[in-house]
Amino acid sequence: MLTHHSYLILSAILFSLGALGVLIRRNAIIIFMCIEMMLNSVNLAFVSLSKYLGNIDGQIFVFFIMTVAAAEAAVGLALMIAFYNNRESVEVEDLNVMKW
């Protein structure tokens, strides 16, 4: 029987995977994709909770999270392009002008 547990655990797995990716990868774009994955796992948690609570609020929250993700994508990729223009790289190990 499918319950909210199944979905919450799946979302926890995806969240940890995303967090792991953020911590171990070097490429800023991949780190950003991992962050997107974490946001998506949050979305999954919200939608499943919303369904099992019979309450639409959680889905509205998902709507806003998507908007924020889009805005973050625009700004984040712009920052990466600006960084690339000066350093020819998007690897976090090149984020080293100041000590990390």
Partner: protein, 169 residues
């Protein structure tokens, strides 16, 4: 095991597998495509959870817009395949943290019960009224203010993209 659970298990397995691919692929393009796969799996779950509108915008906004933007930037910056070591030295700490997170989630979520106040929206209501209408109604009444704040958010993001990435300003 009923058919729904079986379906859930299969799609969940695909989602987790492609999630693992996202963080292990050497080539950023492969990572991006795996991420698209994860997004599609999540869209499937949204349909199973009686949220078809969420599924639609998941595909349109995430897989359609955001991922295209990311792939476009990967191409634009001509990001090469990571050579040699692809991980930072934080592998150990990262793995420990992720395992802890996961353990915590399993431990706590399995013992928890969903105690929140129950609403009255179930599959029938979604069928009869329509999901889009339910969402729209809530968004333009109860959550009008957050909706308005979103407009400022998008404006800020537009300014940011222009000011940071335009060749000549």
């Amino acid at each position: 095991m009923d058919i729904q659970t079986l379906f859930f298990a299969v799609v969940a397995a695909v989602a987790i597998l492609s999630g693992i691919l996202v963080i292990t692929c050497r080539n950023p393009i492969n990572s991006a495509l795996s991420l698209v796969m994860t997004f599609f799996c999540l869209a499937t779950f949204y349909v199973m959870l009686d949220a078809p509108f969420m599924a639609a915008i998941q595909v349109i906004v995430y897989a359609g817009a955001i991922m295209v933007l990311i792939i476009f930037v990967i191409m634009l910056l001509n990001v090469r395949v990571e050579s040699g070591k692809k991980y930072t030295h934080g592998v150990l700490i990262g793995s420990i943290m992720a395992v802890l997170l996961l353990f915590e989630a399993f431990y706590f979520l399995n013992r928890s019960s969903l105690t929140g106040a129950r609403g009255m929206i179930d599959a029938n209501v979604v069928q009869n009224v329509g999901h889009v209408e339910l969402i729209g109604r809530a968004m333009y009444t109860d959550f009008l203010l957050p909706f308005e704040i979103t407009s400022i958010l998008l404006l800020v993001a537009i300014i940011g993209a222009v000011i940071l990435a335009k060749k000549k300003i």
